[in-house]
């Protein structure tokens, strides 16, 4: 028995087999990432279509009664789902350019949804409260993380509360316009806009609860005046 014979060819062959297995694992991972991205795109297309449909309905408001506008509740769910999936994708999927594009499109859809629902709410007197939330992922913003937890909790508590979140650094002219309108500064993040009032820095759940309840009460008041 030759105890010290080394078969170098075998070491090389094993290296190639291992590399092939790695490539296969990488290929499978990419395949599923692509599937997930296309799932996000499908949701995105659905949302775009729903918004277009609601906008068209809204344009026809003069000929229709408010009760015929039905899209907003399912739209909220879809937007929420897309937001969650995008967030997960950003943490787990490597294709950053595709995700960046989807994130920008998502921000745009949120703005459109916000404007549309605000109009519907004013026109039809629906009781909605809106929060625009500006955050950043840069510099590990712990306050932003805490603010996100507060807003998720509030969303569960107030089903008619619509929270739209925007990454400060998203390169999109529509977001830049909003930042200018509300005078949001990058040094004062997280920032919230509630009933056109800018709130900078972390805001506790108690404080926001009071403000949201006040916002709903104001809407009740204006509705009863009408």
């Amino acid at each position: 028995m030759e105890n010290n014979k080394i078969d170098w060819k075998k070491y090389v062959i094993v290296f190639f087999i291992t590399s092939l297995l790695f490539i296969l694992a990488w290929y499978l991972s990419n395949y599923f990432s692509e599937k997930k991205l296309s799932q996000i795109k499908t949701i995105q297309n659905d949302i775009a279509l729903d918004i277009l449909s609601s906008e068209t309905q809204f344009s026809l408001l003069s000929e229709l009664s408010c009760k015929n506008i039905t899209a907003e509740s399912s739209l909220s769910k879809e937007l929420n789902e897309m937001g969650q999936k995008l967030e997960w994708g950003e943490d787990n999927i490597d294709d950053s350019s595709e995700l960046l594009y989807l994130r920008r499109y998502y921000s745009l859809l949120q703005i459109k949804d916000y404007l549309l629902l605000k109009n519907i709410s004013e026109r039809c007197g629906n009781k909605y409260a809106f929060i625009l939330y500006f955050y950043t992922d840069v510099d590990n913003c712990t306050e932003c993380k805490r603010q996100g937890i507060v807003l998720s909790s509030l969303r569960e508590k107030f089903p008619s509360l619509r929270v739209y979140s925007f990454d400060y650094s998203t390169n999109l002219s529509a977001i830049k316009s909003m930042l200018q309108i509300y005078k949001v500064e990058d040094t004062k993040l997280p920032a919230l806009v509630l009933d056109d009032e800018l709130l900078t820095g972390f805001r506790s759940i108690e404080e926001l609860e009071t403000k949201i309840e006040k916002s709903f009460a104001l809407k009740d008041e204006s509705k009863s005046k009408e």
Binding site: M1, K5, L21, F22, L28, T142, R146, I149, S153, I205
Partner: protein
């Protein structure tokens, strides 16, 4: 994950897969050489063999062990048995003396000094060409010695032959899990055998040509893993070690997690320290695959487990920190709703597929080991017990062994 830990992560995963592929390529190369004999194996010539049974407080199992040697199918007048009581505090010596009436059995009594001293006392009184040890908690299969000696007969250059160790009568889930692990070790040991890279000659019935001890010296304390040290010494001196997969020895395994932990801590601590003692053997062409595969494989397994343990601790810490932040921010809420099951959120990263691959390799290793022992392929529930117990407990003894090595604290023998 940061870039550095990501690089370490992929390098270790690559190496772990590499090791598994190496085993399977070796298996496909040598599959036809694996024997699974039934019935009695006959030898051309029966050479003298001494079996040393060192014992410390083994009154419960000693009798069965000695009887199993007496019942070996080997030519009776060619077997000599040396029973060494290593300062037991129970009735081990009394039980040994009961066997003193047999002409081929000699009993020695000494003060407690550790297993290597008991074995060395046996070696000092050696009269035969071949010698082995049988731990007092193990039972030799009647045909095991014939099959082992058949390996020496077929290739006289072989200096030691190790058997397949099988767990006897598992009573609880932990012992069933160990049974699966021992099947896997039969496979791995056989593959190491094919490449000349066996790194341990275990206590239960490894048989040596006496030249090993005459030329290389007797057993050493070796961090209480003398069976590993002698194998390293043999490899260093190019003394070939073979594995005989169809020579079975049945052994008792620790029945509790605490006892298993203690046993594995000793093995792992010994293994790490022997590797450090023999670090000069690493990547030297003259030591063959032992140098390029066996030692690196052990090093990789230590580092991989430590890295993954640290990763699990880090991930768990992150999870706890998130929960604390949540409670601190919005208070504790009992109204948690069950998350909706959505396959989208299953992490289908490269690591998932590599992990599946490694699990497939491990299951296949246990299956082949099972076949080497029982003669048929089968997946049993023991395989899953193995994953449950060993994946959760082994990182602890490994981390402790590393910690002990770093702080130079040897674990207790028992």
């Amino acid at each position: 994950m940061s870039t550095i830990s990501e690089v370490i992560f992929y390098v270790l995963t690559f190496l772990a897969v590499y090791v598994q592929v190496f085993f399977f390529v070796t298996f496909f190369e040598n599959n036809k050489k694996i024997q699974n004999r039934k019935g009695s194996t006959k030898l051309k010539k029966y050479k003298g063999v001494t079996i040393i049974v060192p014992a410390f407080n083994e009154e419960a199992t000693l009798c069965k062990t000695v009887r199993s040697i007496l019942n070996l199918n080997y030519q009776k007048d060619k077997i000599k048995i040396i029973l060494v009581n290593d300062g037991s505090k129970d009735n081990t010596l009394k039980m040994m003396n009961r066997f003193a009436k047999y002409p081929n059995i000699r009993v020695f009594n000494k003060e407690n000094g550790g297993k290597h001293t008991a074995l060395n006392l046996g070696l000092e009184n050696l009269e035969t060409e071949y010698v082995g040890c049988l731990d007092a908690d193990s039972i030799a299969d009647p045909d095991s010695l014939n099959r082992i000696m058949n390996v020496f007969e077929n290739d006289p250059t072989i200096m030691a032959v190790t058997p397949s160790i099988v767990v006897t009568e598992p009573k609880n889930l932990l012992q069933h899990a160990q049974r699966a692990e021992y099947f896997m070790m039969v496979f791995i040991k056989k593959m190491f055998g094919f490449m000349g890279g066996i790194h341990v000659t275990p206590g239960p019935l490894t048989i040596f040509n006496r030249k090993v001890f005459d030329n290389l010296g007797h057993y050493k304390e070796a961090h209480k893993t003398e069976d590993m040290e002698i194998a390293f010494r043999m490899q260093k001196n190019n003394y070939p070690i073979e594995q005989c997969n169809d020579a079975y020895v049945y052994t008792n395994t620790p029945p509790t997690v605490k006892k298993l932990f203690k046993q594995r801590l000793r093995w792992t601590y010994g293994g790490i320290n022997i590797m450090l003692d023999y670090k000069d053997m690493l990547f030297k062409k003259k030591y063959g695959n032992f140098s390029y595969f066996t030692i690196p494989t052990s090093v990789i397994s230590v580092f991989s487990i430590v890295f993954f343990v640290l990763k699990i601790i880090y991930d768990f810490g992150k999870f706890v920190a998130d929960q604390v932040l949540q409670i601190k921010t919005v208070g504790f809420s009992m109204s948690y709703t069950l998350p909706k099951i959505d396959l989208f959120f299953v992490d289908t990263g490269t690591f998932l597929f590599l992990s599946i691959l490694i699990y497939i390799f491990v299951i296949a290793s246990i299956m082949i080991g099972y076949k080497m022992v029982t003669g048929r392929y089968r997946i049993t529930k023991e395989f899953f017990y193995y994953f449950i117990f060993f994946v959760t407990i082994s990182p602890f003894w490994l981390s402790k062994a590393l910690y002990n090595t770093l702080t130079s604290r040897a674990p207790d023998w028992r």
